[in-house]
């Protein structure tokens, strides 16, 4: 038996909720990066699932674009986290306090 569109949407909403929870609760930069990636992948799942049930395939194309862009973004983000780790010996953003007001 095949899956209905609702199954995909439920999984995607669950991933979105986990991502937003991780973003708001965790303070470790790498965990926050993972949380963002979960939201992006929830959106990709949505796009591919919708494209399957719609008469066009724009969603699949967009998912490919989105995966490539997310990879570039993670590359930049990890580079910034590595520089921060060299400076602070820590990746907890609550510990970074040179700026406040």
């Amino acid at each position: 038996m095949s899956n209905t569109m609702l199954d995909f949407v439920i999984v995607s909403i669950a991933l979105l909720a986990i991502g937003i929870y991780g973003m708001s609760v965790k303070r470790n930069a790498i965990r926050m990066l993972f949380a963002v990636e979960m939201i992006v992948n929830a959106a990709n799942l949505n796009l591919v699932a919708f494209a399957r049930f719609l008469p066009n395939s724009q969603g699949q194309t967009f998912a490919l674009f989105s995966i490539a862009i997310a990879a570039a973004e993670v590359g930049v983000g990890l580079a910034l986290i590595i520089v921060a780790y060299r400076m602070y010996k820590n990746v907890d953003i609550a510990e970074f306090r040179s700026l406040k007001g």
């Binding site: 959106a43 719609l54 862009i69 910034l80 700026l99």
Partner: protein, 493 residues
């Protein structure tokens, strides 16, 4: 299909080629410290681009702003206005970097990233397809994450970049989730077809459509610095190199408004929801929080960051009253153009102060008016323009914005937006006046010190721009009136 000779393609060709070639020259060249060499090339490319856009705007009659097209890019006067504003910001940033970047390394990469980010900003303004919009949005954002952390040895620069990156990545993720929802509802990613699809959708899908609209507001709101999403902004603007802060505050923020005008406003009209009240509440919150927090700051970059949050609130007034009066979007567009120049000039003035004296604390600005007269007068004019004092252009754009809120008539709460805006402007004059007082009326007489030449050039340009438009605003008002998209099209459909 898009014509190969249309403006956005030519801009991508010019800026992209130069942006990709710069790092190659940087590797091939052995000698170091040739900052002005790369800066000149980047500057030339940006001048050529803005020259092309202005030439086309002045001579060729651009098609009226439609906001929708069958292609992924549309070349109309709405996008030209944003392209001009963003190219001005990039030119100001590059010119300011002539002096600021002299003592830092990796010049080729720095200017290349500025050019790539500029392509992204310009394409956000031109795109009429959600896929194109998202790709351009990321092309704009990813280089600025690197640029914010460009001073590698400086802990505050790195912290600024990391905070900016985490919130920026979250905003892109939220935007792409919103796009996936509207794609699922309407089956298209073209903005025009999406709007048409939203008007005819099954009413039972309304909760999903509202979720998508909320996600667009949140996602673009992060970049625009609207109030529940502004927490990264003061830290980033304070820690990033001041020239890059100029690019962020004046450039990427405006791209957020370009995207918001294309997507949020049209979406709210298509959804037939009274969403404008929510935008009005966000506008009032944004300007009040920004201006009240700005009063308490000791650091001038941080104070201008909060003032930048306040200005996002003023621009949002125009978006909130957009369905009721044409003047709303016209005022927003005018203020976008003005704010690009005045905020860019203010941060470049700070870059000049940091590069020569190394101070950002407001108490230490004492006597600056005699030490660095040209930079001080440039800073004063931009601060007065930000406050909206009459002989500057900031007065006219605020007049149109608040006038639109009073004039719209239909929603009974609209005049309150104008009242909040006027009160906030008065409040902002207090802290701008404090900076001016420190610079001119305090401190002992000190000797004049040499000011960086390129930054003097930026100051002269911005003074001329702000005062000339303040004295003779008609051409720009006419230009922004033509750039207002036709909203009747969607209502009659």
């Amino acid at each position: 299909m898009i014509e190969i000779t249309s403006t956005p393609i030519i801009l991508v060709a010019i800026l992209g080629t130069v942006g990709m070639i710069l790092p190659i020259i940087g590797i091939a060249k052995k000698e170091k410290g040739s900052n002005s060499f790369y800066a000149t090339i980047a500057f030339g490319a940006l001048i050529a681009s803005i020259g092309y856009v202005i030439y086309e705007t002045v001579t060729d009659q651009l098609p009226p702003s439609a906001l929708f097209s069958k292609d992924v890019l549309s070349n109309d006067s709405f996008s030209s206005l944003f392209a001009i504003a963003m190219l001005i910001v990039s030119i100001i940033t590059t010119a300011g970097s002539f002096n600021f970047m002299k003592n830092h390394s990796h010049h080729a990469v720095y200017y290349s990233l500025i050019l790539l980010s500029t392509i992204g900003m310009v394409l956000v303004a031109y795109s009429t397809d959600l896929v194109m919009l998202f790709v351009a949005w990321e092309l704009m954002s990813i280089p600025t994450y690197v640029l914010a952390g460009f001073l590698k040895k400086n802990p505050s620069s790195n912290e600024a970049a990391l905070k900016y990156f985490l919130f920026g990545a979250l905003s892109s993720a939220i935007i792409i989730y919103g796009i996936s929802l509207v794609y699922g509802i309407t089956g298209s990613t073209n903005i025009g077809e999406v709007m048409a699809g939203l008007q005819q959708m099954d009413p039972s899908l309304m909760p999903l459509a509202l979720l998508a609209a909320g996600m667009f507001i949140a996602g673009f709101g992060f970049k625009m610095g609207l109030v529940p999403f502004h927490m990264w902004l003061p830290d980033t603007y304070e820690g990033a190199p001041p020239t890059i802060t100029a690019l962020l505050a004046a450039g990427t923020k405006k791209a957020g408004f370009a995207a918001a005008l294309r997507v949020i406003i049209m979406g709210t009209i298509a959804l037939n929801v009274d969403w404008t009240l929510a935008l009005g509440v966000i506008a009032v919150m944004t300007m009040t929080v920004g201006n009240i927090a700005a009063i308490m700051q000791k650091n001038i970059s941080r104070m201008l960051a909060y003032s930048s949050i306040g200005h996002a609130g003023y621009i949002l007034i125009g978006l909130a009253v957009a369905p009721f009066t044409v003047l709303g979007i016209q005022g927003s567009l005018f203020h976008v153009l003005n704010h690009a120049v005045m905020k860019g000039a203010a941060f470049i003035a700070i870059a000049g102060i940091v590069a020569t004296l190394g101070i950002t604390n407001i108490d230490k600005l004492r006597g600056l008016g005699r030490k660095m007269p040209v930079i001080s007068i440039g800073l004063v004019i931009s601060l007065l323009a930000l406050a909206g004092v009459p002989p500057t252009s900031g007065f006219w754009s605020k007049l149109i914005l608040f006038g639109a809120a009073l004039d719209s008539g239909l929603p009974s709460w609209a005049p309150w937006l104008a009242i909040a805006g006027v009160l906030n402007s008065a409040l902002s004059l207090a802290y701008y006046g404090w900076i001016i007082r420190k610079m001119y009326f305090e401190g002992e007489t000190e000797k004049r010190i040499a000011e960086p030449k390129a930054i003097i050039g930026v100051m002269v340009f911005s003074i001329i721009f702000l005062v000339a438009i303040g004295v003779y605003p008609e051409p720009i008002i006419e230009f922004t009136r033509n750039a207002v998209p036709v909203l009747g099209f969607i209502a009659s459909k």
